[in-house]
Symmetry: C2
Subunit: 287 residues, 2 copies
């Protein structure tokens, strides 16, 4: 059991479907729903690990039996917002066999010849697994909008297409957890400069990130519209204050655990005669 009201924390991150979104009003360095400092937050996340691990294993076990559930965690956020760090710190807490991570880059030539949801659909987690998207179909209404990579009417079409697609996912047993890792422009600047100060981080730095940064307000606006247009009851958005890495990790861990708890996962029953099987083993002839 966690030492803080986990569902209060997760509820506080959820954007109410149908309500307007004001990203500027959501503090990026806050820790809503958690009354403690960094050390307490890191400890709280580790305290979730055993339950996360067990429920993930139950989900996996049910996937092997007749279960139909899976989880899709969608991580979106500006460069340096910590999509990778979240994966390492939070998703890394559970058995790697039960997780399928996909990092979406700019679409390939082949992918561009298909509808934008084609490559996304191919990456969906099988039953029993936790799929994680590091970037996602939302890039097709974020960078695509900011950089005009598609005509306006196509961008418009995509919001509805996403809603229909996610509704179908929900119907088929996939719980979609959508998160925007929300950092301030000042925090991003700090993190980019830190990469430039550390030769072991140069590989993470891309001059193009600064070009994107110049479009910061346009991206915030694109996020606002995307969240408002695709914030549905079956697949609601969460805006996760992410300037504090420890809170970001705790928040994502809490969202995962909250979803797993909601499934009320039992261990699958034996589909064989347990006593008969024991006897077979005990009675076997020498090999």
């Amino acid at each position: 059991m966690s030492a803080f009201p986990l569902s209060d924390l997760t509820a506080g991150l959820r954007i109410e479907p149908g309500s307007p979104v004001d990203l500027a009003a959501i503090e990026t360095d806050a820790a809503p729903g958690f009354d403690g400092n960094k050390a307490a937050g890191e400890k709280a996340l580790l305290a979730l690990a055993p339950e996360l691990e067990e429920l993930q294993e139950r989900l996996f076990a049910q996937g092997k039996a007749d279960g139909r559930r899976s989880i899709l965690l969608v991580l979106q956020g500006m460069d340096t917002s910590g999509k990778g760090g979240t994966l390492r710190s939070t998703v890394g807490l559970v058995d790697p066999q039960g997780v399928r991570i996909t990092s979406f880059k700019a679409p390939t030539e082949e992918e561009r010849k298909h509808d934008f949801l084609w490559r996304i659909t191919k990456a969906l987690p099988p039953v029993g697994l936790i799929g994680v998207f590091d970037r996602s179909h939302y890039e097709d209404v974020l960078i695509a909008r900011v950089r005009a990579l598609a005509p306006p009417e196509e961008i418009e079409r995509r919001y509805d297409a996403i809603n229909a697609w996610e509704a179908e996912l929900a119907d088929s047993g996939v719980t979609v957890i959508k998160c925007m890792l929300h950092i301030s422009a000042a925090e991003q600047k700090k993190r980019l400069l830190a990469r430039l100060d550390d030769p072991t981080k140069f590989w993470k730095y891309n001059p193009g990130d600064v070009d994107e940064r110049e479009q910061w307000p346009a991206y915030q606006e694109a996020y606002r519209i995307a969240i408002e247009r695709t914030n549905t009851k079956v697949a609601p958005w969460h805006v996760v204050p992410a300037d504090k890495k420890w809170f970001r990790n705790l928040a994502i861990g809490s969202l995962l655990l909250d979803a797993l708890r909601s499934f009320d996962l039992s261990w699958p029953e034996a589909d064989f005669d347990v006593e008969h099987e024991k006897q077979r083993l005990l009675d076997e002839k020498p090999l």
Copy 2:
């Protein structure tokens, strides 16, 4: 740095290419190359974690730059030998983004319409990643041989095909680490009975496992032949005593670390002007 001679441990697991293999002579409950008990072995594995993590990140970073290396860890072993447990305890030590795990089941109808290496090739790790095969192309000369799923001449052909394919992998920058997790028949019986005693483990039990168990000597013989026929300098076999789970985990962690160390991985250099980038960020207009 590890507190035991890591390369002694890994060298002790390697089967000398060209030499005959006598699996019965390799003790399944030994801990060769490690002078300590379970607690010491678990501690030794955790002590490897920081270096494993850092070198895995360097490998990943080089993959993003102009690197060409990747690792393919092939885990084979009888049911209950601990392929899954190894994944959780050892591969779980590194960033899940840098790992790609594939569990091979019986081939699908589509897969059976292709050469046996078709589905295996599709699952190869991209540059910079650690791929892990939980079962592999070796099933096509193990269960396929024991259960006569293919004609004898096709099984014969496969040994050479595997050698040619693995040599090509090695040439292209993939370091292949092949491991047989070696348990005794008595240990398997114990583990199967333990699954039958624990309702949280029923999902891992399959009555078919006992049918396979009845073919234990045939499987050991199939392993012996497979190892002898595909034990090459570029992709040698390791037989890992696996009755002791802690030793099995330490051994696999050591093999991974040994491979990563051999790459002499440096952090990629900046392919941009670091000072210029700093200045761009410091001089930027308000967003």
